[in-house]
Structure formats: C-alpha cells, structure tokens
Amino acid sequence: MSANYLLITPLMLPLLGAITCVFLWRHVNLQTIVVACVQLIFIGITGLMLRQVLTEGIQVTHIGGWPAPYGIALVADILTALLLLTTSIAGLAVFMFSHIALDKSRKRFGYFPLFLLLQMGVSGVCLTGDIFNLYVWFEVLLICCFALIALGSKKSQLEGALKYVTINFIASGLLLTGIGVMYALYGALNMAELAQIVRSSHANVKLLALPGVFFLTGFGIKAAIFPLFFWLPASYHAPPIGISAFIAGIISKIGIYTLLRLYSLIFSVEINSAQPLLLILSGLTMAIGVIGAAAQMDFRKILSFHIISQIGYMLMGLAIYTPLAIAGSIFFVIHNMLVKTNLFLVSGVVAHRYRSFSLVRLGGVYLMHPTLSFLFLISALSLAGLPPLSGFWGKLMLAKGGLEAGNYILVGTSLGVSLITLLSMTKIWNEVFWKPRPKRIKNSVRETMSAYTLYFPVFFLLAFILVLGFFAQPVIELSQRSADQLLHSETYIKAVLYD
C-alpha cells in the first residue's frame, strides 16, 4: 500500500466512521456496527503500517502534494506505528466493553462519534510532522475528551470536566504561544525542518530554551508531569468506564509521545541543560503519583493516581536519554497503555456487578468470581512490574539505563515507587477481592448474561499483555530500533525533507 493511503487512513477512517455515526444519530445499533468495522479495519491498517515502516523505513506523505517544509507532512516511524497499533487494540477492547456496559442514553447522545473522533485525534498527533498541526490534533483530542468526560452530566463528571477544561485550555494557550515563538525565531513549522535549523548555525539557536519552556509546560500539562498533573486525578475517575478506560489508558501517554518526539527531534541539542530538570521532574512525578495512590480508597482513583506515577517512569527514559532508557520508555508506554486500559476495564466489570468503586464497600470477589480475580491479579502484577509480566521489562530497561548513566537516586526512586505500586495493587486485591463482602452492604450482585460477556474485552487485552510479557523479545527489539530511530534524527529529517 502506498504511503499516501497508508498514512491518511488512520485519520480518515475514524472520521468517516464518525460522520456515518452522526448520520445514523438515532440508530445506535447501526452505529455500533459501523464502529466495530472501523475498529477492525483500524487494527489491520496499523498492523500494515508497522510492517511497512519496518521493511521500508520511515513513511512520509505530503498532504496536498506540497513539498515538505511548505505543506503538512504526515510521518510514520516505528514509534508512531507501534503506538497506533497499541491504541487500536485498546480501542477495540474499550469499544467491546462499552458496547455491552455503557448506558443507552450516553450512546444516544453521541458516544460513538466522539469516541471515533478521539481516535482520530490520537492518530493525528502520532502521525503529524508539523508542529502547528500537532496542536490542532491535540485540540481535536482534547475537545473529544471534554465532551466525553462531561457526557452524562453527573455531578462528579461536571466538576471533573470543569477542572480538565480550565487547565487544558491554559495548556493549549501556552502551546499556541510556544508555536508562535518557534515560528518567529526559526520561521518554520515543519518539525524536520526545525530539527535541521536548530542543528545549523542559525542565529537564534541559542534561544531554543525559550520555546522549550512553552512546550515543556504545555505538553507537561497534557502528559500530567509533576507540578502540572492536578487535573488528572480530578477528572479521570468521574465518567463511566467505557469512557475513562480509553482516556486514562491512552490519552495521557500521548503527551509523553509528543515530549519524546519533540525532545529527540528539536530540543535534543539542548538536552544537556534540560536533563537535570527532567530528571528531577520524573522522580517527583513518579513519587508524588504513587504517594497519592497510596492515600486513596477508591478503585479508580488509585488507578488514576498510578497513571501519574507511570508517566514519571516514561519521562525517566527521556530524562536519562540513552538508547536503552528511551527504548525502556517506549516499551513502558506500550505496556502501560494496554495494562492501564485493562485495569480500568476490570474495575468496570467489578463495578458492573457490585455497583461500587469504593474499596470499603466492595469485597468477596475472590470467592464469587475467581476468573475476574485472576484477570485483575495478572494485570495488577504486570502494572507493578512483576516478572515475567510486561511491566517488568520496561522497569528493567529503565533501571539498567539509569544505572548505566549513573542516575542512582532516580533509579532508587523508581524501584521504591515500584514497591509502593505493588503495595497499592495488593491493597486493591486485599480489599476488593480477598476481604469478605461487608455485611451491611445490601446491593444485590448483578448476575446477568452481559456481566459475563464483559469478560471478553478483558480477556482480549490480557492476551496481549501476556504475549507482551512472555514473548517480549520482538517488542523490545522494536522499541530499541525505535529508540535508535529517535536518537538518529537525521534519518527522520532526510525522510521528510529530501525523499
């Protein structure tokens, strides 16, 4: 398949799907069919993309036929393809889940088109090679998040959405101003072109830190790093699982993706001055996140805070900035997308049966639903980085990369954090699964057919998690190649500008 089709399909497919869904506004069942088709094709396309990128190198298409620095280029390297593939897998699982568990009224008020457009935004962010276009796709993704988080207008949803909207609006503003600064200083918007300029003897290269601050703050907010993460725990637990699983599983990692991309491509020339800051931020992010999680007594809130701590891990790879560490980050992103989505789905299954997310009100799942318990246990242990599950590999690569580079304190922090992660995962296990069901809770347990079909998406994701853990070699190799590609940005520049 030529790059023209291959790179535009991940954008157009969800968009066309969403348009169809809007036309079928009242016919939720038909919408479901459309979305199912889109998800399946999406996985196929991203798989093809990965294959093509691996065999033929970086793929580029110039939108509108305008050559690279003038038009917008869509670029796919291994990182992009890997992330999109992971996203599509998680997307399919979330779709299956929400098809069964999400209430009818939310579906009738546009859940499916919003979901598809969210995917489109993710694809756009991952694919684009233009910095302003990146901003636009980020806005697409964000407004979908806004709408989805508020969809249903429950009190907690509204509150969460308000915080989410306000802080992310400011972040977008900072990004926009940063892009303005970038354009004013270097006169370019194409990322490859910018990368080339900052590596040349351009007069303004010494001012690179200036837009750097804007981008670090802006994308730092979107990625939820330390002093900027507060919107995340305020909002991610509010909407129903069919929504929050995808947002929590995928969206926060997209911020990390952009940081990885921008720092490897544009800001790598000043990585030495940014490194101490990034190291401190990543350490604090993982520590504060996990401490926050330890304080919570709600299934989803614990998971939400863990997102922050794992963002710290991902940032750690970038901060260390060695091939191994960046490969670790990439692997960690992939692992975390799948595992976090799955854990949210498991919490959804539990809540679907027992009608609560509160650790105090839940209990006794271990005896009544052994399968569910094991589904949770494996995902949770994977999140805690227990070998040979997927989390371990990322942790190992990061720790080794960090020790190699001499960042002992950071590695120590990361290991401590992983212990506390184990603590809070087993806390959930103790409280929700092992503890007998509290007597005074009268809620009946829902034992419908749909409650069993809900296992299916969880199994589906779990299969990937297990494969990622037990047969880690190919993915680790891919992340290493991808890290290599990121660190050798001249291939990227060449592919975009000169081929």
Binding site: G64, G110, L114, T426, N430, Q473
Partner: protein, 772 residues
C-alpha cells in the same frame, strides 16, 4: 528444564479443573508431577557426579541478554531434589489437611506454581532469570499465606511478607544490574569463569549491599525476620514447604551461589557472620518464649537460617560443608515437625503446647515421626542431625574470624534446639498425664504418612550417609567452593573428638534448659518493652506513617481547589521562564524602542488606552451584563488591531466570533439567578501578584522574540506559488484550504465535536444511580 516448567504450569492451571473432576483425589496427579520431576532430575545425577554440569539454553529476550539458561550442577541438583521430593509429600499432605476446603483446587494451583518457580530459581543460570523466579516465589507465597482470605491476620501477614520480600527483590534486581554492568556477564557460569574479581570496581560495594538486602529479606535474617513468624498464618503445608524447607532457603541458595564471586571481600564474611549470628541467637531466644507450636518452629527456622548464613560467612570449605549438611538435615527434621504439628493442629484444633499432651496413644505414627525428627534436631547419635551438628561445631571451631563468638552462638543455639526438640516431642506426645488431650478426629493416612517418610529419612541418612547423600553433597560443596577439589567424608563416628564431647554437653544442657523452661518463660515478660523498639514495630510504624503521610501530602497538593492547581502551573512556567531569560540573557533593543515610542501614531495610543481602561473597568464591575458588553468591546478592539496590521480575514473572523460569543453568553448566562456576590477573599493580593508576574513574563518574552524575529521562507514560498500553483489570490485563504488544509480539517472537527458536546451537555439528563 523448560519442558518441566511448562509442564508445571499446565498442571497448575488445570488443578482447579481437576479438582472439580476428582475432588480431593486431585492430590494424586498433583503429587505424581513432583515425583516425576524428581526422577527426571535424578537422571542427571551420574553426569553431575562426574563433576561436570549441564547447561540448557533457550533464547528468550536476547535483546536484553535475558535467556532461559539453566545450569544443573551439584548445588542446583541438591536443591532441585529437595524441592521436588518435599513438594510431592506436601501435595499429598495438603489433600489431607485441606480436604474440606472448597478452594483446594486453587491451593494446588498456587502450590504447583510455587514449586515451578522454586525449581526454576535453583536451576537458572541467568541472573535475571533467577530474579524472575525469585519474584514469582514471593507472589505465590503471598497468595498462599493469605489462602485463608477471610482471616484478617492472614491477609495482613501475607501483605507484610510480600512487601518485605518485594523490597528485597527490587534490591536484588538493582544488584544484578550492577553486577551485570560491572562484569558484563549475565550468567553465573560466566561470572564464575571470570578469574579477576570485580572487588575493585566501584559497583562492588553497592552490588554487595543490595544482594544482602535481597537475600536477608527472603531468608528472614535479622532485622527482616519478623515476617516469617507472621507468615505462619498460612495453612501448615505451606508453612512446612515454603517457610521452612524451600523458599526461605532461596536467600541461602543465592548467597551460596554468589559466594565464589564475593567471598574474597572482608565485607562479605563479616557481614554474614554478624547478621547470621544475630539471627541465630535471636531466633533461638524467641523460640523459647512461645507456646504456639508453629511459632516455635518458625523461630527455630529463623535461627537455623541464621546459622547457615553464619557458616557461609566463614567461607571455609568445612563451613560450606557444614552449611549444606545442616541445610539438608534441617529441611528433613523441620519439615517433619511442621507436618506433625499440622496434623496435631488439624486433629485437636489447637497448637498451644500447654494444652497438648499425651497424644502418642491417639496418633502413634505422627508421634513416631515427630520424635524421630526431634531426635535429629537435638543432634542425637544415629540421626542425620547429629552429623550436621558435628560439622557445625567443627566449622565454628576452625573459624578464622571471631572464633569464640561463632562457636558460642552455635553452641547456644544447639542447646536451645535440644530443649525445643524435647518440648515438641516429649512434651506433646509422650508426657504422661491423667487427662490427655482429646482428638476431634483421627489423622488420615494423608496426614501421617508424609511426616513419617521424612522422619524416617532423617534416620536413614544418618545411618548410611555414604550411600545416600555424600556424593550429591560433595558435588554441591564443590560447586560453591572456589575451584579447589572437595572431598566430603560423612560418618557418624569420628572417634572421641572434642566435637563429640561438645555434642554430649549440648544435650545435657539442653535437657536442663527444658526443665527450667517454665522459669525462663516467666522471665520473658521483662523484655516486652524491648519489642516495642524491634524491627516489626518499625515496619508497622513506617507503614502507618507512610499512609498518614500520603494522605496528608495528597490533601495538601490535590485539595480540589482548581485555583491552587493553576497557581502551581503559572509559578512553574514563570520560574522556568525566568531561569531561561536570566541564563541566556537575550538582548532587547531598548534604544530603537524609545524612538518608536516617540513616533507612536495617535490612534494607536487611543486604542491602547481604550482597551486597558476597558479591562480595568472589567476588573471592578459586578454586573454580569456590563461584563459581557465590555468583554465584547475588548474583542472588537482586537479585531480592529488585526485589521490595522493587514489581516482582514482574521479581523472578520474575530469580529464574527466575538459576536457569537456574546450571543451565547446572553443566551446562557444572562438569565441565571444572581447568586451571591463573591469577592476574592483575603488572598486577593497574592492573586494580583501572580497575575502581574505572568503578564510581565509574557510581555518580556514577546519583546525578546520581537527583536529576534526573522523573515520566514514560508512566506516567500506561499507568495510565489499562491496564484500560480494554487490558483488563489487571497494567500491566507489559500493556506487554509490548500497549503495547510489538514489544519482546517482538524479545526472543523473541533467545531463539530464542540457542537455535539454542547448538545449532550444541555439536553442529556443525568441518570439515577451509579453505573460503571
């Protein structure tokens, strides 16, 4: 080996299903598995005996140097045989012990998984492969300790064990990484083959400390010993198997494995001797004060583990021999005693030694097994324990460091073992009293056969050490000693040596201690305050303290106050910006600006004054409608500015959008009830300061950037091609719909989503009740 492990996994995951089919007879297939592996391992025996070792390599993650590489040498084989043989017996025993438990299937699942992990651990050659199995043993141990999940004590003990050993596991991982980085080797074989020690490397000390941390937590060494007695909340088969015979010896195994690498260093020997000694003494000391059978056994296990660590610290060949022989002897007698204790507990419903007596009549086989084990533990003549004790004394006496301390500790613990052995055999089974304890039910053969076999082996090995155990032990010692050829001579009778004399003395003193036990126990109460300072207390304090700290910190940081979040954000951004501007100090051309100021056109000043006064008016006004109008005015002024600088499209858009915004405002917010007026409270001045800070930073940045702006080549290109290639005269529009049409596509998508979102927000009524 991989086949074995996969087989174990298969058996493990089919166990619950088999249980549903076979009921408690699931024990038969589950026991066949370990015995089968036992036989399989035995098939390697001849080759190992010849002094070589077997390497099996399966590629797994070569990208990180982590492969499933197994190494079967004397040490691995010894442990492997121990694990499988014990495993088989435990499988049988468990079916008797947990016969009424509906979760027996899951129990077998965990137990088989554990066994597989343990087997994998002792046979793996790759460091990280070992770590993998190490962690699996931790997690299965967690699941097994908490097996009685309705019991709070079981849950919290399981948690404690997991956290303590988990911490050690992470330390171990770091240690392995350091070793790997320092030596470049991934496997023990490579590590052992390296002649040059890496003790000079800067990673040596941290690697050693982290290794100790890993091993000490796993093997319940002081000050991490406290999790082991708590872990006795597990069902007895688990205690016997994991917490006495196998898992806790993982740390010993690893230390033994590593000893050729590290043993040269002083830190190695001294640390191990001191920590091991402390643990041995502490365990023995605490064992005496308890009356719960399992607690006594747990503390003596801790003590024995300390003993082994001490021997490893001595590092001489005789000490290594003593360590391994003692390890085997300990496994045999302690396993037996645990199983016997479990049987007693199961049949009488209590484990308190003060309430148990004269049981020999009621459960004779169990009594016999326990007695055999006790005699071995006490170190009486024909038993294997005797050989172990003799060797221990010999090693202690030949110690190069702290010889009297080492010997004294060994001797003291020996005395305590004798007393404990008497308590647990004579005191429970043979003590003649008028009212013997009543049984709730008689022990089934599943409950008494396994301990009996083990107890019997204790005698058999003692009587014929040459045939049964010498060869394998010799190979095991060989594989952990550094190169030199080892010959092991095990015999009951060495003649009248001083070790023999000491043994006799030990037994006499031990019996005396037993007599004085009541007196000793009554004195223990004095020590209670000391325990408040102990490591367990510390663990609980740290744990609770951490939770309190977490809660407080989270409530301070994440306190739900949106304004606070924004302040953090702005301060972060401004601080960074300040730093960058201060650090890079880009120049601003003030001189030329002064000229510009002098030449300012009048209408510019008017707009400026208008907008700023409108903004200041906005700050003060309380009326909602006025605010909307003034805000619209500011927006229109912006449109005016755009048009002044040659951007008619932008100006038109701004104008129309501003109009729409005002309309939306009027439609939505104008008619709302007024509510109360809210002032800025006391923090007003803080907020003003932050706002001004942010504004200043932005202004300064703009001034800096203005002075460095360059002419973009994009502008030229678009100017050149707009009409000729893109057929449009309005360059802005051409950019929007042709050059950068993808932006516009994204943008209209945003608009569409905004409309859908607005629709859903306003029209959808929230549902009643919680839904996932």
């Amino acid at each position: 080996m991989l086949v074995v492990l996969v087989l174990c996994l298969l058996f493990a995951f089919f166990a619950p299903r088999l249980y549903r089919l076979l009921g408690r007879y699931v024990a038969i297939p589950m026991a066949i598995l370990p015995f089968g592996i036992f036989v399989y391992l035995l098939s390697f025996f001849p080759e190992v005996l010849r002094g070589s070792y077997i390497i099996q390599l399966y590629k797994w993650v070569p990208a990180l140097g982590i492969n499933l590489q197994f190494r079967l040498d004397g040490l691995s084989l010894l442990f492997g045989l121990l694990i499988t043989f014990f495993g088989g017996l435990i499988m049988v025993y468990a079916a008797g012990y947990l016969k009424d438990n509906p979760l027996l299937g899951r129990f077998y699942l965990y137990l088989t998984l554990f066994m597989a992990a343990m087997l994998g651990m002792v046979t793996s050659d790759n460091l990280f492969c070992l770590f993998l199995f190490w962690e699996i043993t931790s997690i299965t141990s967690y699941l097994l300790i908490g097996f009685d999940n309705k019991n709070v004590k079981a849950r919290s003990s399981a948690w404690q064990a997991l956290l303590v050993t988990g911490m050690g596991g992470l330390a171990l991982m770091a240690s392995f990484i350091l070793i790997n980085l320092a030596t470049g080797s991934y496997t023990f074989t490579e590590l052992l083959a390296q002649n040059t020690s890496f003790s000079g490397h800067s990673y040596f000390a941290p690697a050693l400390i982290l290794l100790f941390l890993g091993c000490f937590t796993k093997s319940a060494q002081f000050p991490f010993h406290f999790w082991l007695p708590n872990a006795m909340a597990a069902p007895t088969p688990v205690s016997a198997y994991l917490h006495s015979a196998t898992m806790v010896k993982a740390g010993i195994y690893l230390l033994a494995r590593m000893s050729p690498v590290f043993a040269g260093a002083d830190a190695w020997g001294y640390t191990l001797v001191v920590i091991g000694g402390c643990t041995a003494l502490l365990g023995a000391f605490l064992a005496l004060q308890h009356t719960d059978m399992k607690a006594i056994l747990a503390y003596t296990t801790i003590s024995a583990l300390g003993q082994m660590v001490m021997m490893l610290g001595l590092g001489t060949t005789v000490a290594l021999k003593a360590m391994l022989v003692f390890l085997l002897a300990h496994a045999l007698y302690k396993g037996t005693m645990f199983l016997a204790a479990g049987a007693v507990d199961h049949c009488t419903g209590t484990r308190d030694i003060t309430r148990l007596n004269g049981l020999a009549r009621l459960m004779p086989v169990t009594a016999l097994a326990a007695t055999l084990a006790a005699l071995s533990m006490a170190g009486l003549m024909p038993f294997f324990g005797f050989i172990g004790k003799e060797l221990l004394y010999e090693a202690a006496l030949s110690s190069k460091i702290y010889v009297w301390l080492v010997f004294g500790l060994t001797f003291l613990t020996g005395i305590v073992y004798v007393a404990v052995a008497v308590v647990l055999s004579f005191g429970i089974f043979w003590n003649k009293v008028k009212h013997p304890t009543k049984l709730e039910h008689a022990p089934g053969y599943m409950l008494y056969l396994p301990p009996f076999i083990l107890g019997f082996l204790g005698v058999a090995f003692g009587l014929a050490p040459k045939i049964a155990v010498t060869p394998i032990l010799e190979r095991a010692v060989q594989s952990i000693s550094r190169g030199e050829l080892v010959e092991l001579e095990l015999a009951l009778w060495h003649g009248f040596t001083k070790e023999l004399g000491l043994s006799v003395l030990t037994i006499i003193l031990g019996l005396l201690l037993y007599k004085a036990l009541k007196f000793v126990q009554s004195r223990y109460a004095i020590l209670n305050p000391v325990y408040n300072l102990g490591p367990e207390r510390l663990y609980h304090k740290a744990f609770d303290g951490f939770l309190v700290f977490a809660k407080k910190l989270t409530m301070v940081l994440q306190n739900g106050n949106l304004r606070r979040y924004i302040i953090y954000l702005i301060l972060f951004f401004s601080a960074l910006m300040f730093y960058v501007l201060w650090h890079d100090t880009p120049h601003i051309l003030f001189a030329s600006r002064v000229v510009i100021i002098q030449e300012l056109p009048f209408h510019d000043v008017v707009i400026f004054v208008l907008v700023s006064s409108a903004l200041f008016y906005l700050l003060g006004t309380r009326s909602r409608l006025t605010s909307i109008v003034v805000m619209g005015l500011v927006g229109y002024s912006a449109a005016l500015i755009y048009i002044m600088f040659g951007a008619p499209d932008v100006a038109a858009t701004q104008f129309l959008i501003e109009t729409l915004t005002v309309v939306i405002f009027v439609l939505l917010l104008h008619k709302l009830p007024a509510f109360i007026y809210l002032s800025h409270q006391f923090k007003k001045y803080n907020y003003i300061a932050i706002s001004i800070l942010f504004g200043t930073v932005m202004t300064y940045t703009m001034l800096v950037v203005q002075d460095h702006t360059i002419e973009s080549e994009l502008k030229t290109y678009y100017g050149q091609t707009s009409l000729l290639e893109a057929h449009g005269r309005n360059i802005v529009n051409v950019i929007l719909v042709d050059f950068r049409a993808l932006d516009t596509l994204g943008e209209i998508t945003v608009l569409a989503v905004a409309a859908l979102g607005v629709f859903a927000l306003l029209r959808m009524q929230p549902e009643k009740g919680e839904k996932p």
